[in-house]
């Protein structure tokens, strides 16, 4: 059972309330594909990912970034049982998509950096701690159904 303090809940709700899903999602996924290019292995159907410019202008990447962020929104709305909320998603990523779970951590780190860049100095160390705890719980829930 994950225990959230009131302060942590407040920080996380605050981040999501200020987040533009249509901007942050694409940016995070683009950054992941550029900074960790081996992640492109899961997106061979997305067309041209040959260089940073191609990735940044790829509409499928952008669309999928938005999908990912809406998935995180669901976790935020069910913070007290992310494990259950993500059970099907976990099976999907393991059984159907065959994603190496280390990639969840890479995407999480890139999203953290996108949010840090957007929020600037209001992304304090305490806010960062709460946010990364949230992402760690999300990643753990996504990994749960792997066997």
């Amino acid at each position: 059972m994950v225990v959230w303090t009131d302060q942590e809940r407040a920080y996380i709700q605050d981040i999501f309330s200020k987040l533009n899903y249509e901007e942050a999602g694409p940016k995070a996924l683009q950054r992941t594909l550029i900074v960790y290019p081996w992640t492109q292995r899961y997106f061979t159907s997305f067309g041209n990912l040959y260089n940073a410019e191609a990735i940044m202008s790829n509409s499928k990447v952008a669309a999928h970034g938005v999908v990912v962020l809406h998935g995180l929104d669901r976790a935020m709305k069910n913070m007290d049982d992310i494990k259950k909320t993500y059970a099907e998603l976990s099976v999907l990523h393991s059984e159907k998509l065959h994603v190496d779970p280390d990639n969840f951590r890479l995407l999480a780190d890139c999203l953290t950096i996108v949010i840090a860049a957007t929020m600037g100095t209001s992304f304090t160390a305490d806010v960062q701690a709460a946010w990364q705890k949230f992402l760690a719980v999300v990643v753990s829930a996504l990994c749960r159904q792997y066997h």
Binding site: I34, V35, A52, T112, I113
Partner: protein, 184 residues
Amino acid sequence: MSLSDKDKAAVKALWAKISPKADDIGAEALGRMLTVYPQTKTYFAHWADLSPGSGPVKKHGKVIMGAVGDAVSKIDDLVGGLAALSELHAFKLRVDPANFKILTHNILVTLAVNFPADFTAEVHVAVDKFLAALSAALADKYRLTHHSGASRASANRGTSNDKAKVSDAINKISNNRKGFFFMF
């Protein structure tokens, strides 16, 4: 993952921009690390104050970023250039190398917070590669069999000893092939 000329150029360009703020960046990155990854505090139990912005944190942040800046100037030979620092971390400080990744992450977050326009995805990948290469150079002197603590000669003896042990083990396994396969 070796650094291309483009990576090195990107790192040097960013460093030129941020070096006036190096001390603050170091202090902030360290403060973030101690807050977000509390297990890292175990290496600083001797400090009076571990809170972000405290005297010891600011002082040490300056030391760290100074070393990063030095590494930028030695970007063409990080292993050679950081040999002494590596011995310090291996034999005296004995920092678990997994923590280098953690500090790297917090340096990247600090750069994103303070230089969002400059820290593009392309700069991010170059800096991440550089800090990974720096971390590897810092870990280079770890697990040398014989460590008087200093001389390169004893370090070399260590590695040839390792090679002898490994080929010894391989010989034993191939001589006991039947037994070995029987185990499975």
